[in-house]
Amino acid sequence: MRRRTLYFLIGIVILFLGSLIVDLAGTAGDFKVFGHGAPVRQGLDLQGGLRVLLTAVNSKAATDDAMNAALDVITKRVNAYGVSEPLVQRVGSTSIDVEVPGVKDPSQLRDTLGSTGTMTIYGMGTLPVLAAGVTFPYSNVTKLCDASGQPTPCIVAKGNELDLSQIATSFDSVGSPQVNFGVKGAAVNRLGNYTTINAGNKATMAIVLDGKVVTDPSTESAITTGSGVINGIGSVDEANSITIQLKYGALPIAFRIDASDQVSATLGPASVHSSIIAGIVGMGIVIIFMLLYYRLPGLIADLALLIYATMVFAVFKLLPPSGVTLTLAGIAGFILSIGMAVDANILIFERLKEELRAGKTLGAAIEAGFNRAWTSIRDSNISTMITCAVLYWFGQNFAASVIVGFATTLFIGVAISMFTAIVITRTFLRLIVRGNVSYNPSWFGAGLDNVARDRKSARAANQ
């Protein structure tokens, strides 16, 4: 065989084996390839989770500095939840998109992320005790508590007097969750005064977070060091939620939730399972069809198709920055591209059949088939790629990762399908041309049986 064909063949084998290794990395063994040891990153609709689009309420206040500061705080809050591969990014000039896959209880998280996070401590005196969770009725109070803890209600500590470094979740002697806190500056004295005066009596001190009462306990003892503990919290989750809202500082501007999606994790694995089955069935049908209709080249196309699927999946994993995020629509795009990948091969084979019918030798027919088919393949695939680019732009504009995922998978699929048809199929076809070995045209497709018959009778007539 020609030298060039041999090089191509070696190249293909290397590519295939390389792709196979990348595909299996993380699923079979525990080894890493270029740092991508994990299996493919799954989107929200596959592994469940939360996606929130936060938009600044007051767009004039949403300066670049404010937005970046907010981005910082929100990123830290998300990371504190300890989920794998969260995504926090700015979208447009006034929005922040947060994606937290795989989180078990998205509702609590959703409200935590965008909350402003301002905590205020009010001296309540003997006003009726407020239940945890109610809206604080005295939000427009602005007077600070004086040395005698009056008037009530008054402010013992404002939001910016909180000592963030002391915020932490802890447990008391019987294991109930609580949140440590501390105040600084003038608030230390105010806290000390109020608690000293009211230690042991019925006066209460309300701790209010973003306008909602966390707890309104009576003071048991004086707090003179500026450090205290919030107890009476219902659950560890709630304690963590409060800690996270406070620890990284309050958000500089207020946000509202412009869009949110919560998907429970139960839907995911079933969908992946059914998609895999669909993919295998789909590919199986295509393989059988190609074998039946195009016979020998069909077998070649099937081999090329398997190599194609392996390569595409490898690209999914390797694409920077952390691979393609696979969603259900993305899987559909991949399966769709399998059907379309065969198209280039079909174009070539139909040309090949024509050339054979016209009486060309096998070698000449193969080359002519490729040359004629290339312009069709190029032009038609480019139009698909144009729509993928437009889809990508469309989805990227408002961070719809589902659409972006689909556009990316389809684009990669189409691009690689062009490569496999032109390089792999052609190399395999050239491999079977060895000099003047006689062949039976009916191996090259249904419908060429009469060509075979004609040649046979022509040969017989010539003898």
Partner: protein, 352 residues
């Protein structure tokens, strides 16, 4: 050799017959914009221990309207094209509650009270709920999607822009790719007309679904439409490519014949490619997840239509244009000055 081109007006008629019902539904306001486009919230509730029933549907609507005091509520099956489980699974569509967790709690509380979890939904002294409510085994919120009104309008605008831009780029590209043929612009335009046919078929079908099944279109639908666009053009270009090649090889043949040959020659390829794509999509439809069923169905219908329009719309249209059969070209040609005919000899059969 079959002359397919001869029957081109029948194909146009068939296309009209397919398009007209859907278009009527479209004009009649059938295409329902989902929350992606009009804003709102969609809550998917599963009732694992109960079969689907209209009682549950009524309970959902009452919870939204009476308890959460929302002025609009609609309930449809969460899996309108099948593929779900045997227990009740409903989609509740209401105005946007993304910024107000209390509303969700109110809806859930009403449902919890009906299904034995009332003790989990006791309000606080001021009437509000401590959110989020604990989980109840009989009433499970599996999915919640909220879209605010401003972003909904943005998405809708972008969607329309995307389709227009895609069509424009494709028109430009085809005109460029066919620049060496006479009248390259016609090829681009005919491809676009075929494409419009496919988009109308899909939109019309979903206008009918919207009116009859309450199915809405969302950004995933737009994705499917754009994919259909890409594929339809893909298909059309292959045939046009053949026409271009034949024209250089069969100089002097009438255009009609050239196109007819091109169609017949590419028929096997067109049908086979569409077949492989449709086979994979059918596998997806049958075996794939329920949540993308509408998406896959859109693709199936669109790609079938795309194959049909490439063969029976785009190419015949090219012939009609080239032959100027509708006489439109005459409107654009400059009127020849009236030529005074010299008085010639009388008699039939005189040629100039």
């Amino acid at each position: 050799m079959i002359n397919l081109i001869k029957y081109r007006y029948w194909y146009f008629l068939l296309s009209l017959v397919i398009i007209v019902p859907g278009t009527l539904f479209l004009i009649g306001g059938g295409l329902k914009g989902g929350i992606d486009f009009v804003g709102g919230s969609e809550l998917t509730f599963q009732f694992p221990h109960h079969a689907p029933s209209s009682t549950i549907q009524t309970q959902l609507i009452n919870a939204a309207k009476n308890n959460a005091k929302l002025n609009e509520a609609e309930v449809i099956s969460a899996t309108p094209f099948g593929g779900g489980t045997a227990s009740a699974n409903y989609l509740l569509r209401i105005p946007n509650i993304g910024n107000d967790p209390q509303k969700l709690a109110q809806i859930e509380a009403a449902l919890y009270n009906e299904y034995g979890c009332g003790n989990l939904a006791k309000p606080l002294p001021d009437g509000t709920f401590k959110v989020p409510l604990p989980k109840c085994a009989n009433v499970v919120l599996t999915q919640e999607n909220d879209v605010g009104p401003t972003i909904g309008a943005q998405i809708k605008n972008r969607a329309v822009q995307a389709v227009v831009i895609a069509a424009l780029f494709i028109l430009l590209y085809i005109s460029y790719a066919f620049r060496k043929v006479a009248h390259p612009f016609r090829y681009g335009t005919c491809a676009i007309v075929a494409l419009l046919h496919d988009v109308l078929v899909v939109l019309g079908l979903f206008a009918i679904f919207g009116r009859l099944l309450g199915v809405t279109v969302d950004s995933l639908f737009v994705t499917a439409v754009l994919t259909v666009v890409g594929f339809s053009v893909h298909d059309t270009i292959v045939i046009f490519d053949r026409i271009r090649e034949n024209m250089s090889r069969r100089v002097g043949e009438p255009f009609e014949l050239v196109v007819n040959n091109a169609i017949l020659q590419s028929m096997a390829r067109s049908l086979n490619t569409s077949l492989t794509v449709l086979l994979t999509l059918t596998a997806l439809l049958i075996f794939g997840g329920a949540s993308i069923r509408i998406f896959v169905l859109t693709l199936l219908v669109g790609i079938t239509s795309g194959t049909y329009s490439s063969i029976f719309n785009a190419s015949p249209l090219l012939v009609v244009w080239e032959n100027d059969e509708l006489g439109i070209g005459k409107l654009f040609r400059r009127k020849k000055k009236d030529v005074v005919q010299p008085r010639g000899r009388a008699g039939a059969g005189q040629t100039r």
